[in-house]
């Protein structure tokens, strides 16, 4: 290393670079190690929780009177929707935080929550019609929840497209701006579809009115299980993204230092 802190191209040691990447202190190193140990434990716990929730949904919960066993799709459909909404809300928060503080971690959180949110949203949009078909005989209805979820899905997929298609320097800022606009759109989506539905009544999915307490119990268990699952998925995606960015940064630095593109000792 030269006196001014820059590194000469010939002495850029890749192995050293990767080994010291991101690990600047003992405390940080210990934190990362304990986090990495926690992950498999949480994974196993979540898997157990999911299996228990599945059992409750298929066996433990009482059978619904009018719809029969098909109604059990409800225990996967609704928690997925709630999880997706929560993830999109976190994306909104992270985007605002990024706009104010320009914190790169916030940007990664926003990206991760949008991606995983879209995955859960896709589940909602597919299980919905699968549920609607045997019960109402139609695959789709401009039902409040289903339509709003579709629009939400469209908004966040367009967000992911922006992330993919814009050049990396400005992507976080543009994406954050889009996320804010998208999130502000959500109340309008709900109001407009609500009024549209009162003018053109459609079959209501998911049943209005009160819910049997045992069913509510199973619903909440599944929601808890899926929330834990979503958290772990987000965490993995976060780690992947962070690593990807470090690699990209290292590549960028390497090509800056050695424009010929080959690494010399």
């Amino acid at each position: 290393m030269r006196n001014d802190g820059t590194v000469a191209a010939e002495s850029f040691n890749h192995r050293e670079h990767w080994e010291t990447q991101g690990k600047t202190s003992n405390a940080q190193r210990n934190d990362e190690r304990s986090m990495k140990k926690a992950f498999p434990i949480l994974g196993v716990l979540t898997a157990i929780l999911l299996m228990y929730a599945l059992y409750e949904a298929l066996v433990g919960a009482p059978t619904e009177q009018t719809m029969g066993n098909v109604q059990r799709i409800f225990y996967y459909h609704v928690p997925s929707a709630w999880t997706a909404f929560i993830l999109f809300f976190i994306n909104f928060g992270a985007s605002i935080f990024y706009l104010i503080k320009r914190n790169p971690a916030a940007d990664i959180v926003a990206l991760v929550c949008a991606e995983v949110g879209v995955v859960f949203c896709t589940v909602v949009l597919i299980t919905g019609p699968i549920w609607a078909r045997p019960v109402w005989g139609i695959w789709w209805t401009w039902d409040m929840r289903l339509t709003s979820t579709l629009v939400l899905w469209l908004i966040y997929v367009s967000y992911l497209f922006l992330r993919r298609f814009s050049s990396s320097g400005e992507t976080p800022l543009l994406a954050a701006a889009l996320a804010v606009l998208g999130a502000l759109c959500v109340p309008f989506v709900y109001f407009s579809i609500w009024f549209f539905r009162t003018q053109h009544p459609q079959p209501v999915m998911g049943g209005g009115g009160s819910i049997d307490p045992r069913m509510l119990h199973v619903l909440l268990i599944n929601w808890l299980a899926f929330s834990c699952f979503a958290f772990l998925v987000c965490w993995s995606r976060y780690r992947l993204e962070k690593l990807q960015r470090e690699v990209d940064e290292a590549h960028a630095m390497e090509s800056l230092l050695d424009p010929r593109g080959s690494v010399r000792r």
């Binding site: 890749h14 066993n69 896709t122 589940v123 597919i126 699968i130 078909r133 993995s236 690699v247 690494v263």
Partner: protein
């Protein structure tokens, strides 16, 4: 309980197919990245 109902099975199956597919893409990208890092580390 679930035997008579193809829609129920389909819904639950699709849910997990979607989740597993997404997790697979994460794992694959992660291992490709690790491989890239190893190659870059070994080159110098």
């Amino acid at each position: 309980m679930i035997s008579g109902n193809p829609y129920l099975v389909a819904a639950y199956a699709v849910t997990w197919i979607i989740h597993v597919t997404y997790l697979t893409t994460i794992v694959r990208r992660y291992s490709r990245l690790k491989r890239e890092m190893k190659e870059a580390g070994l080159r110098s």
